[in-house]
């Protein structure tokens, strides 16, 4: 090898100028093509292709087994710490990440068996006063990354970089099967017009649901026997959730006290300003055809939770969660650094889209997982399992659950402003 390296004669040949020129043209053409398709790349069916896009650092991260790393991280942080070490170790963590130990409940650090326990800590009763006059409050402690209006069904991630609202919430195109859903379950998925995404998410016929009319997915009126068979199939599906992509199950947590439930539902309905008679009239006029109510717009806001922040999330308003869509995806970091570099970050990562309605129409809340916090808990959804082992399904695949059994009045899971909903766990 040394001989070959040192003794092989090198002969230089001049390349014809034309070859060099062609090469330059080809490079320029490639650059231009990339530039023009930078915003949206569509497949043959017109559906945006969600793929890893960004500088080399992003591709290096994409090559790492992030999901496995996240689960190992979670396992390590679930290991029980010796009692004598807990106050020291947790104080070091709290100092490093800026946790306020004065507001935690319980205040005794020895009560937290592991770092994972401390990470999912509770706060004292009045640690977070809720603005009584606000129609929309922060669901979590964190930093506002971005906010604005949704334009052309695209949500801006950072300035000049956006992602598809359809991809974030999961909507299919007319006449096409939902993307990457097992063929045997395709017929069970909702299929809607591109511009009617809001219908799927409950904007128009959410009014119908409020007053107990037909379901947005299935327009035929429910009969007692059909309801019974749906309930039976829901229970069967719930036991087999990870295997059945595209199945809709009823994941409502059974209510123990009907009177208490009704009082809670009535309270949420009151907060939402529901007036059944008026809503019935309005919905019959509009007929459930438009996507957003006239005079309304779609808004978005993104809140980033840093590692030291309180990691439970609360309801941002009085609303009814009708369904959740669990997207199994990657677990990239969602730090502002990555948000500025990785295109489609929020639609690549594992997330749980909670979709429903509030007094002004559609309302959606999407907790997005990250490498260190891959697990998302929803208090009223015991069937939900996130960051589990197994093959990752293609981007865009989701499993859906409906919460119609949670409330006999509102046909979904009613939530009051600032009511605790769930949280993020380590790993």
């Amino acid at each position: 090898l040394i001989n070959a390296w040192t003794q092989t004669p090198t002969k230089w040949y001049p390349l014809p100028i034309a070859v060099g020129a062609i090469l330059l043209v080809a490079i320029q053409y490639r650059k231009k093509r990339k530039g023009s398709s930078k915003q949206v790349e569509l497949d043959d069916d017109g559906i945006e292709i969600i793929k890893l896009q960004g500088p080399w650092q992003v591709h290096v991260l994409g090559a790492l087994p992030l999901r496995n790393m996240s689960r190992i991280w979670g396992y390590l942080n679930s290991l029980e710490l010796p009692i004598w070490f807990r106050p020291i170790g947790l104080r070091i963590y709290a100092t490093a990440f800026g946790c306020n130990l004065d507001e935690i409940e319980p205040a005794d650090l020895r009560a937290y068996a592991s770092l994972g326990d401390f990470f999912y800590r509770k706060l004292k009763q009045d640690a977070r006063p809720v603005d009584p006059d606000a129609i929309l409050v922060s669901p979590a402690d964190g930093r506002i990354l971005h906010f604005g209006t949704v334009q052309d069904l695209r949500v801006e991630q950072v300035k000049g970089m956006s992602y598809s609202l359809d991809a974030l919430l999961g909507v299919e195109r007319p006449g096409t099967p939902p993307p990457h859903v097992a063929p045997s379950h395709r017929d069970k998925m909702p299929v809607v017009d591109d511009h009617e995404f809001a219908n799927v998410n409950g904007i128009e016929y959410s009014l119908n649901q409020l007053i107990g009319l037909s379901s947005p997915i299935d327009s035929t009126p429910p009969t007692p026997s059909r309801e019974r068979s749906e309930r039976e199939s829901s229970v069967a599906a719930a036991t087999d959730l990870p295997k059945k992509f595209g199945d809709r199950i009823d994941a409502s947590v059974p209510q123990k006290d009907l009177q208490e439930t009704l009082a809670h539902d009535a309270s949420v309905a009151l907060s939402m300003g529901v007036q059944p008679a008026l809503e019935r009239k309005r919905s019959s006029i509009s007929g459930g055809a438009s996507s957003v109510r006239p005079g309304n717009s779609l808004y978005f806001t993104v809140i980033y939770l840093a590692p030291g922040d309180y990691h439970r999330f609360h309801s941002p308003t009085a609303w009814v969660v009708e369904k959740r869509r669990h997207f199994v995806g990657e677990l990239f970091s969602v730090s502002p650094y990555m948000a500025k570099r990785l295109q489609n970050l929020f639609v690549l990562n594992e997330r749980v889209a909670l979709l429903g309605k509030w007094r002004y129409g559609f309302f959606g809340m999407v907790p997005v997982g990250a490498t260190n916090v891959g697990s998302i808990k929803i208090n009223f959804d015991q069937a939900l399992r996130t960051n589990v082992r197994g093959p990752s399904p293609p981007p865009g695949t989701y499993s859906e659950a409906v919460y119609s059994a949670a409330s006999p009045i509102l046909n979904g899971q009613p939530l009051l402003t600032a009511q605790e909903m769930g949280g993020f766990c380590l790993g």
Binding site: I144, L168, F313, Y360, F363
Partner: protein, 33 residues
């Protein structure tokens, strides 16, 4: 971790009461009509 909120509200009336980069706490006002 991150939370994305997407919601419908009256176009002319709703406005955010926050700025990008603001630190927020649970229960703090985000927007108003």
């Amino acid at each position: 971790s991150t939370i994305v909120l997407v919601f419908e509200a009256p176009s002319d009336e709703f406005e955010f009461t926050i700025k990008a980069g603001d630190k927020v706490k649970v229960g703090q006002r985000l927007g108003d009509l």
